[in-house]
């Protein structure tokens, strides 16, 4: 069975470490915050200028001056700090964020990522995504393995305008956990009940299949 959005988030949460500063993108990445292990402290960075993002406010806590990068009303966690956009991106571009999780339209075997523009269809802008992928060493991309029409999103070469070049090393999809190295996807884990053959069939880029590919455990 392909993973649900929540299960993708749960698998990514296994990559968290105690004391990590983490930037979570919009969509599935945001859900990772729900699966931080109880015995662990992580601090969430929101690129509009908040380190230590807390939960959504209760109705009487709602404050127009307190939002996250998705423009949602939020609270500040205990020990949070608030700062300017330049300071926020100094953290990001200076490589101070320990883990970045973001979505994508396409990733290719060279570690290129396309996530911000579909020519002729979608022109919303890159927001902070180009800074995040250029500045972070530890990035996890999460996405569905293939489109609704069955077309692979894990390619030999991205077809859409890039967000960053050669910067992605880890991808979690609804079917698999893969690393990217030396011009290939390396299949490290598969979703429970999903065959290596299915993953191979839905991966357009070069896929290296080790002798043993364990199922993910939750």
């Amino acid at each position: 069975m392909a993973l649900s959005r929540e299960q993708i988030a749960m698998r990514i949460a296994q990559e968290l470490q105690d004391g990590f500063y983490v930037n979570l993108g919009i969509g599935i990445p945001t859900l990772v915050a729900n699966y931080v292990p109880d015995n662990m402290e992580v601090m969430l960075q929101s690129e509009n200028g908040l380190l230590g993002m807390g939960p959504f406010p209760t109705e009487d806590q709602v404050d127009a001056d307190m939002i996250n990068a998705g423009k949602q009303t939020v609270t500040a966690a205990k020990g949070a700090s608030i700062f300017s956009s330049a300071e926020s991106f100094a953290m990001i571009r200076g490589g101070h964020v320990d883990l970045t999780v973001l979505g994508a339209f396409e990733v290719d075997q060279e570690g290129n990522i396309a996530s911000w523009m579909i020519p002729g269809k979608l022109i919303k802008g890159m927001g902070g995504a180009m800074d995040l992928v250029a500045g972070a060493d530890n990035i996890i991309v999460c996405m569905t393995h293939a489109s609704k029409h069955g077309e692979s999103k894990l390619l030999e070469k991205c077809s859409l305008p890039l967000t960053g070049a050669g910067c992605i090393k880890k991808v979690v999809t609804d079917l698999a956990y893969m690393e990217i190295d030396n011009g290939a996807f390396i299949l490290r884990e598969r979703a429970p009940g999903v065959s290596v053959e299915e993953i191979q069939q839905k991966t357009a880029g070069k896929l290296i299949i080790p002798d043993h590919v364990p199922e993910m455990t939750f």
Partner: protein
């Protein structure tokens, strides 16, 4: 003698001297911390062919979105313009030019502009359409592109409290782009919720020192929320 007193008493006075074709840098992220009354005053003035530098372009009918209604904007320099139907229509119709700029690069362009730095190298955008036509240079084995800084004829800023000398404090995440934008205007205009006497604000807590501020005005604000999200109390 006005001395260091930056306070003006009307929005007409606040934006006096703004003319067609100017570049205006605006603080704000989404609808948070935007100079909403100064934006409305630009609409009232009816100046056209403006270049607006702002992370976003408001929404239809509020924030910078109101300047699209009478086609006052020639060009937007932004990182994300997703929430605005009129924006998209004018862009696709060729009436509006947009220079999409990575968010961190945009913040740094303002910061550098205000600090007298004409350009800087960054890894952000290398190998992407953003890098087209820009100088590439390698440092320590990594490739960087040269990005030029931005200054504006006006900077329009939303603060929380200020003293009459123009020392400004921002509230919560309404800070965002405001401090950098404030440094990058030839004329920097700040609107705030409260004006106090010099000496009442703690000097070490000032976000924008008064040296950057030319005009200061007291406003009242709607502070519209773009996406209200709550949990059960």
């Amino acid at each position: 003698m006005a001395g260091f007193n930056k306070v003006v008493n009307s929005y007409e006075e606040a934006l006096a001297g703004m003319t067609d074709g100017m570049t205006i840098i605006a603080g704000g992220f989404g609808l948070c911390g935007i100079p909403e009354n100064l934006i409305n005053q630009i609409k009232t003035l009816g100046v056209k062919d403006l270049t607006i530098v702002s992370n976003n372009c408001g929404v239809d009918g509020f924030g910078l979105g109101v300047l699209l209604e009478d086609k006052q904007v020639k060009k937007m320099v932004s990182s994300y313009v997703g929430e605005n139907a009129m924006f998209e229509a004018q862009l696709l119709g060729g009436e509006l030019e947009v220079e999409l700029t990575p968010q961190g690069t945009l913040a740094e362009k303002m910061r550098a502009g205000g600090a007298g730095i004409p350009a800087f190298y960054t890894a952000t955008g290398y190998g992407t359409p953003v890098a087209e036509g820009k100088e590439v240079r390698e440092f320590d084995g990594r490739k960087y592109i040269l990005e030029e800084s931005i200054t504006g004829d006006f900077a329009i800023i939303k603060g929380w409290k200020a003293d009459r000398y123009g020392n400004v404090i921002y509230r919560h995440t309404a800070q965002n782009f405001n401090p950098m934008a404030a440094t990058a205007g030839k004329i920097t205009v700040v609107e705030v919720e409260e004006i106090v006497e010099p000496g009442e604000l703690e000097p070490s807590q000032i976000h924008t020192p008064g040296i950057y501020v030319d005009r200061l005005i007291l406003g009242t604000f709607e502070k519209r929320i773009e996406q209200k999200t709550v949990r059960e109390g």
